[in-house]
Structures are given as structure tokens and as C-alpha cells.
Symmetry: C2
């Protein structure tokens, strides 16, 4: 693999910046007090379609040839990347085919349709999703874009951290949730190139701790079960993002389901913003080991805010 | 009554600005599309203690003499003003006595205690609240500060609209919820002095439409029942704010309970911010008569974000 340079991130940011919002960075004196650190929340819940995934989707599509664009794009996603690819594709006048598990929240299915995506439902297993996506590639010639294991996508997601570090270059730590690995890989690259000795730490549900175990074992591990409220974090790492994570991520902190709900409730009640459970995992990780981060400057990527209000854990 | 001048609002803003946040103004292209107007939400849910009432409380206390401050302040409130007076009093080293209905949401009672307020519980009627507050005035000599029918409080609340109009001086309309009348009176003054022919419109629950009826009859009307989800809007107008409302408010639009919940859901889902039902009433009023506001620039005061997450209407 060709070495990734700071310039790759900078070019990516330049390329997508008309397709994304530069999201606000919020702080809360109450949450700072609880943790004993200065926390900067990069609010990708305010991103277009409500999650950071818009960044990677826009970057991946904008790098396709005209020939590829004419045949459309396809992906499988448990939700946010589905919306992101649909919206980015519509912005670029490209057709998007979205393979979604039939268990995905209704609000996410409706959003995909609203953004013009064509949904193909399948069973909620990784194998079923891959089979359904491959069928579309073969039948219509669409380009498959993986939600997390694609270098263009990884670089796109990293621009959330690029923006955070442009405004706060002296962060000591950067926390992100870990699902398929695209966000944390991209953000770890950004912390490496744009930070000043800024360490990247992942938050992961104990119930789906494949990334934690992968870093320990040195090979990509899978999850036997995916029973977590953090429905964006059920997927596993891939061969493109794993080496980046191995090189640039400091460590992963695992959190219980109750800790995720508690962190989510704190953010909702104190900051008055809506974040999805997957987003709360990074803050839950900081809360869990707060004594290690006393008086530090900590960035947290709030990954998204797409929740089904009919199914809240409160 | 002495005439109120633009300078009164300007001085008030100057006086309280170190005690409050200058809250962000947010827009949503999706909500603009739904309404067909350009909407600017002044997000007082991000204000200190989560509501605009911090403004009026800070102004009222800062105008007391040292002698008065030494004996404390007392108020009765269904929630947000209780928290506001507690926090403002603590900032100014003054003791706060808070008379609250025993039916107030638990999250609001806990917040008052967290801000150092001393709670005195009473029955959920206006008479019971007034009796309990008067007892404190007589016993400890505390100064009574009314949540909405006090000119210092009214001017303080108006600074939310001052800030909105400083950033967007060309608003055609300004919407606020109507409860006790402090917010809408202050904001209507701000629209008059800082706007350019900007009309102020109130949103009020049909179930507690005392202000609507008061404007029609020319005298302060009361509510026979207060069965609305908008728990901050159950109170009635007062003799200080009513003349201001009569002079400067264009009209009041009444909304059904289901319209309040629908407006609240739209804001939560689309803007990813937490607003309380009372806040959603102003947006519900705009939604209800959206055809009258086509292509207009509309400001909306999002009054607060203090909700009990255990009791959501979704």
C-alpha cells in the first residue's frame, strides 16, 4: 500500500468541503466538571444527513470516473452510511443502491428513501449483506463502496478530526467510537498529521469488542454476537483500516451497555443535543477512565444523531 | 408607567452579558423546505441552566440593593425560572427560596437543588404558590421576584431577541411561545426597537389560551384547566406585561396538543437538538399557518431544553 500523507487528507478535505457542513464544536462546563478535563465535542450529529458518514461517502463518489458514476454505486450499511451514500449520490447525480438489514430502524429506512436511495433488504448478517451487494454489482455494474474499509472513505471520515484539530491543535487526546473502523482510522491519521502528540483512543461496546481483541491478537477478530444498543458499531474491522488502526491508535476502552446509556443520557440532558448510542460510546469510554485524563484537553467525535425516537433507552 | 426605551434594553443586555451565554442561532434546510420560509432558531435551550429565563433572573437580581441581596430572593415557578433564579442567585452570592408545585418534573427539582436553590413545595395552583411565597417574604425579608410579571425580568428575557436581531436585523416575523408573558413582552419590545418592521407573533396551546383570549377581550383572562404538555405555558399574563403585549404583539396563534408534539418531534429529528414542549409551541404555530409566511424571514425563540427524558411524548 502506498504511504498515506498529510497532503492526502488535505486534498480530501478540499474536495468534499462544498458537500459537507463544517460542524460546530461544543463544550459544556458541567461535563468538564464531571470528567475533570476540557472536552471539545465535534458535533457530527449536525452534519448533513445527521452523521460523519457523509464525509466518506462524498469523497468516495467524487473520486469515481464518469463511466463509473453513470452505473451507480452500491453499499451495505446498518444505517448511517446508507443515508450518506444516498445523499452524496443524489448531490452528484449518481444512482445509489442500498443493501440494508431488515432489522434496521424504520427512521433510517425512511431517511434513505427520502434521500433518493434504492433499498434492497436482506437478513441481518454480514454474509447476507455481501451477497446482496455483489448481486447488484454483477447485474447493473454499480461500483461497490464499503462503508468503512475503503481508503477514500477513511480519509473522508478523518476530515472531522482535521477540522477539530484545526480549531484546537493542542488536544492531548482524541476519542472516537469504533465500529467498522473507518472513522477511527481516518481520525487517527488526522491526529498524527494535524495534532501535536495527540493520542487517538477508541471507545467500543464490550458486547462487540472485536477491535479491542483484534489489536491484542494482531489479526482481525469477529463478534459472536452483536447485542449492543450501539447499532452503528456491530461491524468488524477490514484489511484496509486495520493496519492504520494498528499503527496510529493508542488503545481501545470497552464499555458496558449501561455505561453507554448513562453517557448518552448525560449528553442529552446536559448539552441538549441528540446523539445516537454509538456516539455516546466514545464519551462513555472517557467517563469510565476519567482519572487518567485529569486536566487534559480531550476531543470527542460525536459521530451522529439519527435515533428512532420511538425506541429510546430512557 | 415610565416609557420603556431602546436604551433600557441595551443597558440590560450590557448588565447581564457576563452572566449569560450568547446562544447560537441555528437553521435547517429541511425545516426551511417544509415551511417554505427562512427560519432562524435562537437556541436558548443552550443557555445556562437550559432556558432563556436565566436572562431575566440575572437582570432582576443584579438590580437589587446590597441590603435586599443580603436577605435573599424568592419566587414561585413551574420549573425553569426556579432553576434560573437559583443559578443567578448563586452567581451573585444571594440566597434563593423557590416555591415549586409538587407536580413539577423531578429533573427540574433536582436541577434547582443542584444550583443551590432552597425548595418549598406546594400544591399546583396559582393561589397556593402565591401564599407560600408570601410567607417567605414575611418570615425572612426575601425580595419576591415574579417569573414573568416584572419589568426587569421582561427586559432580561427580551435580550434573547436583541441578540437574534443584532445578527439578523431583517427578520419579517419573530415567534415566541406565550406562557406568563415575560418572554413575548420582552421580545416584542426588542422587535420594536431593534427590528425593521418585524412583527411579533405568539404561539399558545389551545388548552391554555388565556393570552389569546386576553388580547381579544382586553382584560387578563385565566385558564379553567391547564392540561397541556407545554408545562411552562400554564401561567397567565400579568398587569406589567399585558399592556406591553397589547401594544407590541401582532397576534397569537393557538395550537393543538398533537401539533405541539409533532413540532417537537420535527425539531428533535431534523435539528438534533433537545427542546422542551413549550419551545415547540412557537414552531408549531408557524407550521400551522405556514402559508402566511411563504418566503419570509422568520426568527423563533427556542425557549428551553429541560425535559424529563423518562416522560417523553414519543
Amino acid at each position: 500500500m502506498k504511504a498515506i500523507l498529510k497532503e492526502d487528507l488535505a486534498q480530501c478535505h478540499q474536495r468534499i468541503k462544498d458537500h459537507i457542513h463544517r460542524t460546530p464544536i461544543l463544550s459544556s462546563s458541567l461535563l468538564n466538571e464531571i470528567v475533570g478535563a476540557s472536552i471539545y465535542f465535534k458535533c457530527e450529529n449536525f452534519q448533513r444527513m445527521g452523521a460523519f458518514k457523509m464525509r466518506g461517502a462524498a469523497h468516495a463518489i467524487s473520486n469515481l470516473s464518469e463511466e463509473q458514476k453513470s452505473k451507480g454505486v452500491v453499499t451495505h450499511s446498518s444505517g448511517n452510511f446508507a443515508q450518506a451514500l444516498s445523499l452524496a449520490a443524489r448531490s452528484l447525480d449518481v444512482k445509489a443502491y442500498i443493501v440494508m438489514p431488515d432489522t434496521a430502524p424504520q427512521v433510517k429506512k425512511e431517511a434513505v428513501k427520502g434521500y433518493g436511495g434504492n433499498i434492497i433488504e436482506c437478513e441481518s448478517t454480514i454474509v447476507a449483506r455481501e451477497v446482496a451487494a455483489e448481486k447488484i454489482v454483477n447485474e447493473v455494474g454499480a461500483t461497490f463502496i464499503h462503508p468503512s474499509n475503503d481508503l477514500d472513505v477513511i480519509l473522508g471520515q478523518g476530515t472531522a478530526a482535521v477540522e477539530l484539530l484545526q480549531d484546537h491543535p493542542d488536544l492531548d487526546f482524541l476519542f472516537t467510537p469504533v465500529g467498522g473502523g473507518g472513522l477511527i482510522a481516518g481520525c487517527a491519521l488526522a491526529a498524527h498529521f494535524y495534532g501535536n502528540n495527540c493520542k487517538t483512543i477508541g471507545g467500543e461496546p464490550l458486547a462487540c469488542d472485536d477491535a479491542y481483541r483484534s489489536l491484542k491478537s494482531g489479526t482481525i477478530e469477529t463478534n459472536d454476537s452483536t447485542l449492543t444498543i450501539a447499532d452503528g458499531l456491530k461491524t468488524q474491522l477490514g484489511n484496509v483500516n486495520f493496519p492504520i488502526i494498528q499503527t496510529y491508535v493508542d488503545r481501545i476502552i470497552r464499555v458496558e451497555e449501561s455505561e453507554i446509556v448513562e453517557a448518552m443520557r448525560l449528553i442529552w440532558e446536559r448539552m441538549k443535543i441528540i446523539v445516537e448510542p454509538s456516539s455516546a460510546v466514545a464519551f462513555a469510554a472517557l467517563l469510565k477512565e476519567k482519572s487518567s485524563f485529569k486536566n487534559k484537553k480531550v476531543g470527542i467525535i460525536i459521530s451522529g444523531g439519527n435515533v428512532d425516537l420511538g425506541k429510546l433507552p430512557f
